[in-house]
Protein backbone atom coordinates (compact mmCIF):
# COMPACT_ATOMS: atom_id res chain seq x y z
CA UNK A 1 0.00 0.00 0.00
CA UNK A 2 1.65 3.21 -1.12
CA UNK A 3 -0.88 5.79 0.01
CA UNK A 4 0.17 7.46 3.24
CA UNK A 5 -2.11 7.39 6.26
CA UNK A 6 -4.78 10.00 5.72
CA UNK A 7 -4.27 11.04 9.35
CA UNK A 8 -0.94 12.70 8.65
CA UNK A 9 -1.23 16.09 7.06
CA UNK A 10 0.46 16.28 3.65
CA UNK A 11 2.35 19.46 4.58
CA UNK A 12 4.41 17.75 7.27
CA UNK A 13 8.18 18.28 7.50
CA UNK A 14 11.30 16.42 8.50
CA UNK A 15 13.91 17.57 11.00
CA UNK A 16 17.00 15.76 12.22
CA UNK A 17 18.52 15.64 15.71
CA UNK A 18 20.17 19.00 15.09
CA UNK A 19 16.76 20.37 14.14
CA UNK A 20 15.30 19.06 17.38
CA UNK A 21 18.06 20.78 19.31
CA UNK A 22 17.34 23.94 17.34
CA UNK A 23 13.67 23.60 18.28
CA UNK A 24 14.54 23.44 21.98
CA UNK A 25 16.84 26.44 21.50
CA UNK A 26 14.16 28.40 19.66
CA UNK A 27 11.64 27.72 22.41
CA UNK A 28 14.11 28.84 25.07
CA UNK A 29 14.85 31.95 23.05
CA UNK A 30 11.10 32.67 23.00
CA UNK A 31 11.20 32.68 26.79
CA UNK A 32 9.78 29.22 27.39
CA UNK A 33 11.04 27.04 30.21
CA UNK A 34 11.52 23.79 28.35
CA UNK A 35 10.60 20.57 30.15
CA UNK A 36 11.30 17.19 28.67
CA UNK A 37 12.13 13.57 29.42
CA UNK A 38 15.54 12.97 30.91
CA UNK A 39 17.30 10.32 32.99
CA UNK A 40 17.03 10.79 36.73
CA UNK A 41 16.99 8.49 39.72
CA UNK A 42 16.81 5.26 37.72
CA UNK A 43 13.90 6.31 35.56
CA UNK A 44 12.93 8.62 32.72
CA UNK A 45 11.50 11.69 34.47
CA UNK A 46 10.34 15.12 33.31
CA UNK A 47 12.70 17.94 34.12
CA UNK A 48 14.02 21.18 32.70
CA UNK A 49 16.19 20.64 29.64
CA UNK A 50 18.32 23.07 27.67
CA UNK A 51 19.36 20.89 24.76
CA UNK A 52 18.50 17.66 22.98
CA UNK A 53 21.63 16.13 24.54
CA UNK A 54 19.70 15.80 27.80
CA UNK A 55 17.07 13.55 26.23
CA UNK A 56 17.53 9.85 27.13
CA UNK A 57 19.20 8.79 23.87
CA UNK A 58 19.25 5.04 23.41
CA UNK A 59 17.28 4.34 26.58
CA UNK A 60 14.03 2.54 27.04
CA UNK A 61 12.39 0.75 29.94
CA UNK A 62 10.56 -2.41 30.80
CA UNK A 63 7.36 -2.00 32.74
CA UNK A 64 5.16 -4.57 34.41
CA UNK A 65 2.84 -4.46 37.43
CA UNK A 66 4.89 -3.00 40.30
CA UNK A 67 8.14 -2.94 38.32
CA UNK A 68 10.01 -0.45 36.16
CA UNK A 69 13.50 -0.89 34.87
CA UNK A 70 15.63 1.17 32.53
CA UNK A 71 17.16 -0.71 29.61
CA UNK A 72 19.36 0.12 26.63
CA UNK A 73 17.92 0.12 23.16
CA UNK A 74 19.96 -1.08 20.24
CA UNK A 75 19.85 2.40 18.68
CA UNK A 76 20.07 6.05 19.64
CA UNK A 77 16.34 6.84 19.65
CA UNK A 78 15.44 9.86 21.78
CA UNK A 79 11.82 8.88 22.45
CA UNK A 80 12.00 5.09 22.40
CA UNK A 81 10.10 4.46 25.62
CA UNK A 82 6.63 4.97 27.08
CA UNK A 83 5.65 7.14 30.06
CA UNK A 84 7.52 7.15 33.38
CA UNK A 85 6.75 7.99 37.00
CA UNK A 86 6.15 11.70 36.41
CA UNK A 87 3.27 13.25 34.56
CA UNK A 88 2.80 16.82 33.36
CA UNK A 89 0.40 17.35 36.21
CA UNK A 90 3.36 18.02 38.48
CA UNK A 91 3.90 21.27 36.58
CA UNK A 92 0.32 22.29 35.80
CA UNK A 93 -1.38 21.22 39.01
CA UNK A 94 1.37 21.87 41.55
CA UNK A 95 1.84 19.10 44.16
CA UNK A 96 2.26 21.63 46.97
CA UNK A 97 1.17 25.22 46.66
CA UNK A 98 0.64 28.13 49.03
CA UNK A 99 -2.79 29.58 48.26
CA UNK A 100 -2.50 32.67 50.42
CA UNK A 101 -0.93 34.11 53.50
CA UNK A 102 -2.24 36.57 56.01
CA UNK A 103 -0.69 38.94 58.51
CA UNK A 104 -2.21 40.32 61.66
CA UNK A 105 -1.08 43.89 62.38
CA UNK A 106 -0.56 45.70 65.68
CA UNK A 107 -3.88 47.50 65.39
CA UNK A 108 -5.60 44.12 65.07
CA UNK A 109 -6.34 44.46 61.36
CA UNK A 110 -5.58 41.55 59.04
CA UNK A 111 -4.30 41.65 55.48
CA UNK A 112 -4.14 38.65 53.18
CA UNK A 113 -2.30 38.16 49.95
CA UNK A 114 -1.91 35.48 47.34
CA UNK A 115 1.44 34.66 45.79
CA UNK A 116 1.76 35.63 42.13
CA UNK A 117 1.94 32.63 39.77
CA UNK A 118 5.49 31.67 38.79
CA UNK A 119 6.65 33.94 35.96
CA UNK A 120 7.07 30.95 33.67
CA UNK A 121 5.73 29.82 30.37
CA UNK A 122 6.31 26.13 29.84
CA UNK A 123 7.15 24.27 26.68
CA UNK A 124 6.65 20.52 27.10
CA UNK A 125 8.70 18.24 24.86
CA UNK A 126 7.56 14.67 24.37
CA UNK A 127 3.93 14.73 25.48
CA UNK A 128 2.38 11.37 24.65
CA UNK A 129 -1.15 10.95 23.39
CA UNK A 130 -2.43 9.46 26.65
CA UNK A 131 -1.00 12.38 28.58
CA UNK A 132 -2.41 14.89 26.14
CA UNK A 133 -5.82 13.38 26.83
CA UNK A 134 -5.08 13.58 30.54
CA UNK A 135 -4.27 17.28 30.25
CA UNK A 136 -7.56 17.68 28.38
CA UNK A 137 -9.39 16.00 31.25
CA UNK A 138 -7.73 18.17 33.88
CA UNK A 139 -8.55 21.24 31.77
CA UNK A 140 -12.20 20.23 31.85
CA UNK A 141 -12.17 19.52 35.57
CA UNK A 142 -10.09 22.44 36.79
CA UNK A 143 -10.84 25.27 34.38
CA UNK A 144 -13.65 24.05 32.16
CA UNK A 145 -16.58 24.79 34.43
CA UNK A 146 -18.08 27.54 36.45
CA UNK A 147 -15.37 27.43 39.14
CA UNK A 148 -11.95 27.90 37.64
CA UNK A 149 -8.77 27.08 39.49
CA UNK A 150 -6.71 30.22 38.93
CA UNK A 151 -3.46 28.49 39.87
CA UNK A 152 -3.92 25.79 37.26
CA UNK A 153 -5.10 28.37 34.74
CA UNK A 154 -1.99 30.49 35.26
CA UNK A 155 0.34 27.55 34.68
CA UNK A 156 -1.67 25.99 31.87
CA UNK A 157 -2.20 29.13 29.82
CA UNK A 158 0.23 29.37 26.97
CA UNK A 159 1.95 26.00 27.43
CA UNK A 160 3.64 25.09 24.17
CA UNK A 161 3.16 21.40 23.50
CA UNK A 162 5.54 19.32 21.41
CA UNK A 163 3.80 15.98 21.34
CA UNK A 164 5.47 12.72 20.40
CA UNK A 165 3.75 9.78 18.75
CA UNK A 166 4.81 6.62 20.51
CA UNK A 167 6.96 4.23 18.52
CA UNK A 168 6.99 1.64 21.29
CA UNK A 169 4.37 0.82 23.90
CA UNK A 170 5.13 -0.02 27.50
CA UNK A 171 4.31 -3.26 29.24
CA UNK A 172 1.43 -1.64 31.13
CA UNK A 173 0.09 0.63 28.36
CA UNK A 174 -3.51 0.28 27.19
CA UNK A 175 -4.28 3.53 25.39
CA UNK A 176 -5.71 1.58 22.45
CA UNK A 177 -8.42 0.19 24.73
CA UNK A 178 -9.18 3.66 26.06
CA UNK A 179 -9.12 5.18 22.57
CA UNK A 180 -6.54 7.75 23.68
CA UNK A 181 -3.52 6.82 21.58
CA UNK A 182 -0.89 6.06 20.57
CA UNK A 183 -1.26 8.69 17.81
CA UNK A 184 -1.93 12.24 18.97
CA UNK A 185 -4.90 13.88 17.31
CA UNK A 186 -5.27 17.38 18.65
CA UNK A 187 -4.21 19.72 21.40
CA UNK A 188 -0.58 20.12 20.34
CA UNK A 189 1.50 22.83 18.72
CA UNK A 190 3.90 20.43 17.05
CA UNK A 191 3.82 16.64 16.92
CA UNK A 192 6.88 14.52 16.25
CA UNK A 193 7.23 10.95 15.07
CA UNK A 194 10.72 9.58 15.44
CA UNK A 195 11.97 7.80 12.30
CA UNK A 196 14.96 5.70 13.20
CA UNK A 197 16.24 2.94 11.02
CA UNK A 198 19.84 2.06 10.34
CA UNK A 199 21.61 5.27 9.34
CA UNK A 200 18.46 7.29 9.36
CA UNK A 201 17.48 9.34 12.43
CA UNK A 202 14.88 12.01 11.72
CA UNK A 203 11.57 13.27 13.02
CA UNK A 204 8.43 13.80 11.05
CA UNK A 205 6.86 17.01 12.29
CA UNK A 206 3.18 17.86 12.08
CA UNK A 207 1.91 21.31 12.88
CA UNK A 208 -1.10 21.81 15.12
CA UNK A 209 -1.21 25.57 15.63
CA UNK A 210 -0.05 28.82 14.08
CA UNK A 211 2.53 29.39 16.78
CA UNK A 212 3.75 25.84 16.15
CA UNK A 213 4.16 26.72 12.49
CA UNK A 214 5.95 29.95 13.38
CA UNK A 215 8.53 28.18 15.54
CA UNK A 216 8.98 25.44 12.97
CA UNK A 217 9.76 28.12 10.38
CA UNK A 218 12.80 29.14 12.39
CA UNK A 219 14.54 25.78 12.39
CA UNK A 220 16.21 23.80 9.61
CA UNK A 221 13.78 21.36 8.02
CA UNK A 222 12.82 19.78 4.74
CA UNK A 223 9.48 18.70 3.37
CA UNK A 224 8.41 15.16 4.15
CA UNK A 225 7.60 12.75 1.34
CA UNK A 226 4.70 10.32 1.24
CA UNK A 227 7.10 7.52 2.12
CA UNK A 228 8.10 9.37 5.29
CA UNK A 229 4.47 9.75 6.29
CA UNK A 230 4.03 6.10 5.58
CA UNK A 231 6.98 5.18 7.83
CA UNK A 232 5.66 7.41 10.60
CA UNK A 233 2.27 5.90 10.38
CA UNK A 234 3.69 2.39 10.50
CA UNK A 235 5.83 3.22 13.53
CA UNK A 236 2.78 4.28 15.52
CA UNK A 237 0.80 1.32 14.30
CA UNK A 238 3.56 -0.90 15.58
CA UNK A 239 3.23 0.71 18.99
CA UNK A 240 -0.53 0.20 18.84
CA UNK A 241 0.02 -3.50 18.24
CA UNK A 242 2.37 -3.77 21.24
CA UNK A 243 0.01 -2.69 24.03
CA UNK A 244 1.12 -4.48 27.19
CA UNK A 245 -2.41 -4.47 28.58
CA UNK A 246 -5.94 -4.29 27.33
CA UNK A 247 -9.21 -3.42 28.92
CA UNK A 248 -12.66 -4.32 27.69
CA UNK A 249 -14.54 -1.07 28.30
CA UNK A 250 -17.91 -2.26 26.97
CA UNK A 251 -20.60 -1.22 29.45
CA UNK A 252 -17.88 -0.67 32.05
CA UNK A 253 -19.85 1.87 34.03
CA UNK A 254 -22.82 -0.43 34.54
CA UNK A 255 -20.52 -3.39 35.09
CA UNK A 256 -18.79 -1.72 38.02
CA UNK A 257 -21.75 0.07 39.52
CA UNK A 258 -23.85 -3.10 39.42
CA UNK A 259 -21.14 -5.13 41.11
CA UNK A 260 -20.28 -3.05 44.17
CA UNK A 261 -20.57 -6.12 46.38
CA UNK A 262 -18.57 -8.42 44.13
CA UNK A 263 -16.15 -10.62 46.14
CA UNK A 264 -13.28 -9.41 43.98
CA UNK A 265 -13.25 -6.16 45.96
CA UNK A 266 -12.32 -8.15 49.07
CA UNK A 267 -9.65 -9.92 47.13
CA UNK A 268 -8.04 -6.68 45.95
CA UNK A 269 -8.41 -5.16 49.41
CA UNK A 270 -6.21 -7.93 50.76
CA UNK A 271 -3.46 -6.77 48.41
CA UNK A 272 -3.96 -3.00 48.34
CA UNK A 273 -1.77 -1.00 50.75
CA UNK A 274 -3.92 2.14 50.61
CA UNK A 275 -0.60 3.91 50.14
CA UNK A 276 -2.06 6.29 47.55
CA UNK A 277 0.70 5.91 44.95
CA UNK A 278 -1.78 5.19 42.18
CA UNK A 279 -3.70 8.42 42.66
CA UNK A 280 -0.52 10.44 42.83
CA UNK A 281 0.92 9.05 39.57
CA UNK A 282 -2.43 9.17 37.79
CA UNK A 283 -2.33 12.08 35.34
CA UNK A 284 -6.04 12.83 35.72
CA UNK A 285 -6.45 12.59 39.52
CA UNK A 286 -6.90 16.13 40.71
CA UNK A 287 -7.89 15.98 44.39
CA UNK A 288 -6.18 18.26 46.84
CA UNK A 289 -6.35 19.00 50.53
CA UNK A 290 -5.67 22.27 52.32
CA UNK A 291 -3.81 22.79 55.57
CA UNK A 292 -3.64 25.98 57.55
CA UNK A 293 -0.54 26.90 59.49
CA UNK A 294 0.28 29.81 61.77
CA UNK A 295 3.49 31.00 63.27
CA UNK A 296 3.81 30.61 67.04
CA UNK A 297 2.42 34.05 67.74
CA UNK A 298 -0.55 33.47 65.43
CA UNK A 299 0.44 36.74 63.79
CA UNK A 300 0.99 35.17 60.39
CA UNK A 301 -1.02 32.40 58.78
CA UNK A 302 -0.87 30.56 55.51
CA UNK A 303 -2.95 28.03 53.65
CA UNK A 304 -1.16 25.26 51.79
CA UNK A 305 -2.79 23.12 49.15
CA UNK A 306 -1.31 19.67 48.42
CA UNK A 307 -2.18 16.70 46.27
CA UNK A 308 -4.47 14.44 48.23
CA UNK A 309 -5.69 10.92 47.67
CA UNK A 310 -8.96 9.08 48.16
CA UNK A 311 -6.82 6.41 49.83
CA UNK A 312 -6.20 8.53 52.94
CA UNK A 313 -8.49 8.41 55.94
CA UNK A 314 -8.65 12.20 56.17
CA UNK A 315 -10.00 12.36 52.64
CA UNK A 316 -13.40 11.09 53.69
CA UNK A 317 -13.29 12.25 57.30
CA UNK A 318 -16.64 13.59 58.36
CA UNK A 319 -17.98 14.14 61.82
CA UNK A 320 -17.23 10.95 63.71
CA UNK A 321 -14.56 9.51 61.45
CA UNK A 322 -13.68 8.36 57.98
CA UNK A 323 -16.58 7.34 55.77
CA UNK A 324 -14.30 4.94 53.93
CA UNK A 325 -12.52 3.23 56.76
CA UNK A 326 -11.81 -0.04 54.95
CA UNK A 327 -9.23 -0.47 52.22
CA UNK A 328 -11.93 -2.16 50.18
CA UNK A 329 -14.13 0.92 50.17
CA UNK A 330 -11.22 3.15 49.22
CA UNK A 331 -10.05 0.98 46.34
CA UNK A 332 -13.61 0.66 45.11
CA UNK A 333 -14.12 4.42 45.34
CA UNK A 334 -11.09 5.06 43.19
CA UNK A 335 -11.78 2.46 40.53
CA UNK A 336 -15.47 3.26 40.23
CA UNK A 337 -14.81 7.00 40.10
CA UNK A 338 -12.16 6.65 37.43
CA UNK A 339 -14.02 4.14 35.29
CA UNK A 340 -17.70 4.78 35.97
CA UNK A 341 -18.95 7.85 37.82
CA UNK A 342 -16.44 10.07 36.03
CA UNK A 343 -18.71 9.75 32.98
CA UNK A 344 -21.61 11.31 34.92
CA UNK A 345 -19.44 14.02 36.37
CA UNK A 346 -17.25 15.01 33.43
CA UNK A 347 -18.61 13.23 30.37
CA UNK A 348 -15.62 10.96 29.74
CA UNK A 349 -13.72 8.14 31.38
CA UNK A 350 -11.22 9.28 33.99
CA UNK A 351 -8.67 6.78 32.71
CA UNK A 352 -6.42 7.40 29.72
CA UNK A 353 -4.66 4.01 29.73
CA UNK A 354 -1.16 5.33 30.51
CA UNK A 355 -0.49 2.34 32.80
CA UNK A 356 1.14 4.35 35.59
CA UNK A 357 -1.32 3.05 38.13
CA UNK A 358 -0.20 -0.50 37.30
CA UNK A 359 3.54 0.07 37.11
CA UNK A 360 3.89 2.33 40.16
CA UNK A 361 1.71 0.33 42.51
CA UNK A 362 4.32 -1.18 44.87
CA UNK A 363 2.32 -4.41 45.04
CA UNK A 364 1.54 -4.47 41.32
CA UNK A 365 -2.26 -4.34 41.41
CA UNK A 366 -3.38 -4.31 37.79
CA UNK A 367 -6.72 -2.58 37.24
CA UNK A 368 -7.18 -4.28 33.87
CA UNK A 369 -7.04 -7.62 35.66
CA UNK A 370 -9.36 -6.44 38.41
CA UNK A 371 -11.99 -5.25 35.94
CA UNK A 372 -11.64 -8.44 33.91
CA UNK A 373 -12.14 -10.52 37.05
CA UNK A 374 -15.31 -8.64 37.90
CA UNK A 375 -16.52 -8.98 34.34
CA UNK A 376 -15.89 -12.69 34.09
CA UNK A 377 -17.52 -13.37 37.43
CA UNK A 378 -20.19 -10.66 37.27
CA UNK A 379 -23.07 -11.26 39.58
CA UNK A 380 -24.93 -7.95 39.40
CA UNK A 381 -25.83 -6.95 42.96
CA UNK A 382 -29.55 -6.56 42.35
CA UNK A 383 -29.83 -8.91 39.42
Amino acid sequence: METPSPEIAPQSSLIDCGGLDALIGALSAEGYTVIGPTLGDGAIVYDEIRSAVQLPAGWTETQSPGAYQLARRGDGALFGYAVGPHSWKKLLHAPVLRLWRAQRHHDGSITAQTDPPPPLRYAFIGVRSCDLHAIGIQDRVLIGGQYRDPHYAARRGGVFIVAVNCIVAGGTCFCVSMNTGPRVRRGYDLALTELIDGERHEFLVETGSTRGAAILNRIPKRPAADSDRQSASQATERAASQMGRQLDTGGIKELLLNNLEHPRWDDVAARCLACGNCTMVCPTCFCTTVEDHTDLAAGAAERIRSWDSCYTMDFSHLHGGSVRASIKSRYRQWLTHKMATWFDQFGTSGCVGCGRWITWCPVGIDLTEEVAAIRSGRRDDNG
Binding site: Y68, C275, D314
Partner: protein
Protein backbone atom coordinates in the same frame (compact mmCIF):
# COMPACT_ATOMS: atom_id res chain seq x y z
CA UNK B 1 -0.52 41.24 69.14
CA UNK B 2 1.29 40.59 72.38
CA UNK B 3 -0.20 37.84 74.48
CA UNK B 4 -1.79 38.69 77.80
CA UNK B 5 -0.26 35.58 79.30
CA UNK B 6 2.51 33.43 77.92
CA UNK B 7 1.91 29.68 77.94
CA UNK B 8 4.10 27.66 80.30
CA UNK B 9 5.99 25.00 78.38
CA UNK B 10 7.69 22.05 80.04
CA UNK B 11 9.87 19.41 78.43
CA UNK B 12 10.23 16.07 80.21
CA UNK B 13 12.55 13.21 79.62
CA UNK B 14 11.99 9.51 80.22
CA UNK B 15 13.94 6.63 78.66
CA UNK B 16 15.32 8.18 75.49
CA UNK B 17 18.39 9.59 73.81
CA UNK B 18 17.43 13.31 74.08
CA UNK B 19 17.44 13.67 70.32
CA UNK B 20 13.81 14.71 70.13
CA UNK B 21 13.99 17.42 72.77
CA UNK B 22 17.16 18.68 71.17
CA UNK B 23 15.07 19.23 68.02
CA UNK B 24 13.58 22.12 69.97
CA UNK B 25 17.00 23.72 70.42
CA UNK B 26 17.65 22.93 66.79
CA UNK B 27 14.91 25.42 65.85
CA UNK B 28 17.56 28.10 65.67
CA UNK B 29 15.66 30.59 63.55
CA UNK B 30 12.52 30.25 65.61
CA UNK B 31 14.05 30.14 69.10
CA UNK B 32 13.64 33.81 69.83
CA UNK B 33 10.04 33.72 68.73
CA UNK B 34 9.48 30.64 70.85
CA UNK B 35 10.98 32.36 73.90
CA UNK B 36 8.66 35.33 73.27
CA UNK B 37 5.56 33.18 73.01
CA UNK B 38 6.09 30.67 75.81
CA UNK B 39 7.71 30.58 79.22
CA UNK B 40 10.12 27.68 79.42
CA UNK B 41 9.13 26.20 82.75
CA UNK B 42 11.16 23.02 82.62
CA UNK B 43 13.72 22.06 79.98
CA UNK B 44 16.93 20.70 81.45
CA UNK B 45 18.73 20.48 78.10
CA UNK B 46 18.33 24.25 77.83
CA UNK B 47 18.19 25.70 81.34
CA UNK B 48 18.56 24.69 84.98
CA UNK B 49 15.77 27.08 85.97
CA UNK B 50 12.62 25.21 86.82
CA UNK B 51 9.20 26.78 87.36
CA UNK B 52 6.49 25.08 89.32
CA UNK B 53 3.40 23.71 87.56
CA UNK B 54 0.74 23.56 86.41
CA UNK B 55 2.05 23.63 82.86
CA UNK B 56 0.01 24.65 79.83
CA UNK B 57 1.87 22.27 77.54
CA UNK B 58 4.11 19.38 78.50
CA UNK B 59 6.25 17.78 75.82
CA UNK B 60 7.21 14.29 76.91
CA UNK B 61 10.14 12.45 75.43
CA UNK B 62 11.06 8.84 76.19
CA UNK B 63 9.37 5.61 77.14
CA UNK B 64 8.42 4.07 80.46
CA UNK B 65 10.96 1.44 81.49
CA UNK B 66 11.17 1.67 85.29
CA UNK B 67 8.66 1.67 88.13
CA UNK B 68 9.82 5.20 88.98
CA UNK B 69 9.07 6.37 85.41
CA UNK B 70 5.57 4.98 85.71
CA UNK B 71 5.00 7.06 88.85
CA UNK B 72 6.61 10.23 87.53
CA UNK B 73 4.51 10.35 84.35
CA UNK B 74 1.31 10.28 86.41
CA UNK B 75 2.55 13.23 88.40
CA UNK B 76 3.46 15.14 85.24
CA UNK B 77 0.08 14.39 83.74
CA UNK B 78 -1.62 15.78 86.83
CA UNK B 79 0.32 19.01 86.52
CA UNK B 80 -0.16 19.46 82.73
CA UNK B 81 -3.14 20.99 80.93
CA UNK B 82 -2.07 19.43 77.63
CA UNK B 83 0.41 16.60 77.28
CA UNK B 84 2.04 15.84 73.94
CA UNK B 85 4.44 12.94 73.45
CA UNK B 86 7.34 13.52 71.11
CA UNK B 87 9.23 10.81 69.27
CA UNK B 88 9.14 7.07 68.77
CA UNK B 89 10.15 6.26 72.37
CA UNK B 90 7.29 8.21 73.89
CA UNK B 91 4.72 7.15 71.31
CA UNK B 92 5.58 3.46 70.97
CA UNK B 93 8.37 2.49 73.38
CA UNK B 94 11.32 3.20 71.10
CA UNK B 95 14.20 0.95 70.09
CA UNK B 96 14.51 -0.11 73.73
CA UNK B 97 11.14 -1.83 73.36
CA UNK B 98 13.07 -4.67 71.71
CA UNK B 99 13.33 -5.91 75.30
CA UNK B 100 9.59 -6.60 75.16
CA UNK B 101 10.32 -9.59 72.98
CA UNK B 102 13.19 -10.97 75.09
CA UNK B 103 13.97 -12.07 78.59
CA UNK B 104 15.05 -8.98 80.52
CA UNK B 105 16.48 -10.71 83.64
CA UNK B 106 18.80 -12.63 81.31
CA UNK B 107 20.07 -9.38 79.78
CA UNK B 108 20.61 -7.88 83.21
CA UNK B 109 22.52 -10.92 84.37
CA UNK B 110 24.68 -10.85 81.26
CA UNK B 111 25.48 -7.13 81.41
CA UNK B 112 25.70 -6.07 85.06
CA UNK B 113 28.14 -7.38 87.63
CA UNK B 114 25.59 -6.77 90.41
CA UNK B 115 22.14 -7.28 88.89
CA UNK B 116 20.45 -6.67 92.24
CA UNK B 117 21.08 -2.92 91.87
CA UNK B 118 19.03 -2.77 88.67
CA UNK B 119 15.39 -1.87 89.01
CA UNK B 120 13.69 -2.03 85.66
CA UNK B 121 10.43 -3.13 84.11
CA UNK B 122 10.36 -6.05 81.71
CA UNK B 123 8.87 -3.79 79.03
CA UNK B 124 9.42 -0.41 77.45
CA UNK B 125 6.07 1.16 76.74
CA UNK B 126 4.53 4.29 75.28
CA UNK B 127 3.40 7.16 77.51
CA UNK B 128 -0.16 6.63 76.28
CA UNK B 129 -0.09 3.16 77.85
CA UNK B 130 0.13 4.90 81.23
CA UNK B 131 -1.70 8.24 81.05
CA UNK B 132 -4.06 10.00 78.63
CA UNK B 133 -2.15 11.83 75.90
CA UNK B 134 -3.50 14.80 73.95
CA UNK B 135 -1.37 14.35 70.85
CA UNK B 136 1.39 12.00 69.72
CA UNK B 137 4.10 13.45 67.51
CA UNK B 138 5.91 10.68 65.66
CA UNK B 139 9.44 10.19 64.47
CA UNK B 140 12.88 8.98 65.44
CA UNK B 141 13.79 11.75 65.76
CA UNK B 142 10.83 14.09 65.36
CA UNK B 143 10.87 16.70 62.61
CA UNK B 144 11.42 20.19 63.96
CA UNK B 145 8.90 21.84 61.63
CA UNK B 146 6.29 19.40 62.84
CA UNK B 147 7.28 20.17 66.42
CA UNK B 148 6.78 23.89 65.85
CA UNK B 149 3.45 23.14 64.17
CA UNK B 150 2.29 21.19 67.22
CA UNK B 151 3.47 23.79 69.74
CA UNK B 152 1.88 26.55 67.66
CA UNK B 153 -1.37 24.59 67.45
CA UNK B 154 -1.55 23.96 71.20
CA UNK B 155 -0.68 27.46 72.34
CA UNK B 156 -3.15 28.91 69.85
CA UNK B 157 -5.90 26.42 70.53
CA UNK B 158 -6.12 24.89 67.07
CA UNK B 159 -5.73 21.39 65.67
CA UNK B 160 -2.22 20.41 64.57
CA UNK B 161 -1.89 19.77 60.82
CA UNK B 162 0.02 16.51 60.98
CA UNK B 163 -1.24 14.08 58.34
CA UNK B 164 -1.17 10.35 59.10
CA UNK B 165 -0.90 9.14 55.50
CA UNK B 166 1.91 7.00 54.07
CA UNK B 167 5.44 8.12 53.19
CA UNK B 168 4.55 7.25 49.58
CA UNK B 169 2.40 10.35 49.34
CA UNK B 170 5.38 12.47 50.35
CA UNK B 171 7.57 10.73 47.76
CA UNK B 172 5.08 11.42 45.04
CA UNK B 173 4.52 15.05 45.98
CA UNK B 174 8.25 15.65 45.81
CA UNK B 175 8.74 13.68 42.59
CA UNK B 176 10.99 11.01 44.12
CA UNK B 177 11.14 7.94 41.91
CA UNK B 178 9.85 4.96 43.89
CA UNK B 179 12.82 2.84 44.96
CA UNK B 180 10.66 -0.20 45.40
CA UNK B 181 9.32 -0.12 41.84
CA UNK B 182 12.37 1.22 39.99
CA UNK B 183 15.20 -0.34 42.02
CA UNK B 184 13.61 -3.28 43.81
CA UNK B 185 14.78 -1.84 47.11
CA UNK B 186 12.54 -3.02 49.96
CA UNK B 187 10.81 -0.01 51.47
CA UNK B 188 8.57 0.38 54.53
CA UNK B 189 7.10 3.61 53.15
CA UNK B 190 3.70 2.23 52.12
CA UNK B 191 2.89 1.31 55.73
CA UNK B 192 4.80 4.12 57.43
CA UNK B 193 3.41 7.41 58.73
CA UNK B 194 4.74 10.43 56.85
CA UNK B 195 6.55 13.18 58.71
CA UNK B 196 10.04 13.24 57.24
CA UNK B 197 8.80 14.01 53.73
CA UNK B 198 10.39 10.83 52.36
CA UNK B 199 14.07 11.54 53.04
CA UNK B 200 15.43 8.01 52.59
CA UNK B 201 13.78 7.21 49.24
CA UNK B 202 14.99 10.61 47.99
CA UNK B 203 18.52 9.34 48.70
CA UNK B 204 17.90 5.97 47.06
CA UNK B 205 17.23 4.02 50.27
CA UNK B 206 14.12 2.23 51.41
CA UNK B 207 12.12 3.82 54.23
CA UNK B 208 13.19 2.59 57.69
CA UNK B 209 9.84 3.26 59.33
CA UNK B 210 11.04 5.99 61.71
CA UNK B 211 7.56 7.51 62.04
CA UNK B 212 5.85 4.23 62.85
CA UNK B 213 2.67 2.80 61.35
CA UNK B 214 0.63 4.93 58.95
CA UNK B 215 -3.11 5.31 59.49
CA UNK B 216 -3.72 2.18 57.40
CA UNK B 217 -1.31 -0.75 57.44
CA UNK B 218 -1.46 -3.81 55.23
CA UNK B 219 1.80 -5.44 56.26
CA UNK B 220 0.95 -8.87 54.90
CA UNK B 221 0.66 -7.53 51.38
CA UNK B 222 3.83 -5.47 51.73
CA UNK B 223 5.66 -8.59 52.97
CA UNK B 224 4.73 -10.31 49.71
CA UNK B 225 6.09 -7.37 47.74
CA UNK B 226 9.31 -7.44 49.77
CA UNK B 227 9.58 -11.11 48.99
CA UNK B 228 9.17 -10.36 45.28
CA UNK B 229 11.94 -7.75 45.61
CA UNK B 230 14.21 -10.47 46.97
CA UNK B 231 13.93 -9.67 50.69
CA UNK B 232 13.41 -12.58 53.03
CA UNK B 233 10.81 -12.72 55.77
CA UNK B 234 13.65 -12.37 58.25
CA UNK B 235 14.63 -9.07 56.63
CA UNK B 236 11.11 -7.71 56.83
CA UNK B 237 10.90 -8.90 60.44
CA UNK B 238 14.12 -7.11 61.28
CA UNK B 239 12.92 -3.92 59.56
CA UNK B 240 9.73 -3.91 61.61
CA UNK B 241 11.67 -4.52 64.80
CA UNK B 242 13.40 -1.17 65.04
CA UNK B 243 12.48 2.24 66.51
CA UNK B 244 8.78 1.43 66.43
CA UNK B 245 8.94 -2.28 67.18
CA UNK B 246 6.25 -1.99 69.85
CA UNK B 247 3.86 0.17 67.83
CA UNK B 248 0.62 -1.81 67.44
CA UNK B 249 0.57 -2.60 63.73
CA UNK B 250 4.33 -3.09 63.39
CA UNK B 251 4.39 -5.36 66.38
CA UNK B 252 1.46 -7.38 65.06
CA UNK B 253 3.05 -7.61 61.61
CA UNK B 254 6.31 -8.96 63.01
CA UNK B 255 4.42 -11.46 65.17
CA UNK B 256 2.48 -12.59 62.10
CA UNK B 257 5.77 -13.20 60.28
CA UNK B 258 6.93 -15.26 63.27
CA UNK B 259 3.79 -17.38 63.08
CA UNK B 260 4.17 -17.93 59.35
CA UNK B 261 7.66 -19.35 59.84
Amino acid sequence: MPRSRRAKLAVWKFTSCDGCQLSLLDCEDELLELAREVRIANFLEATRAQLKGPYDLSLVEGSITTPADAERIRDIRRRSRALVTIGACATSGGIQALRNFKNVPEFIAAVYAKPQYISTLSTSTAIADHVPVDFELRGCPIDKRQLLEVIGAFINGRKPSIPAHSVCIACKRSGTVCVMVAKKIPCLGPITHDGCGGICPAYGRGCYGCYGPAETVNAASLANAWHAAGASKAQMHRALRSFNANAGEFRAAAEKLDEDD
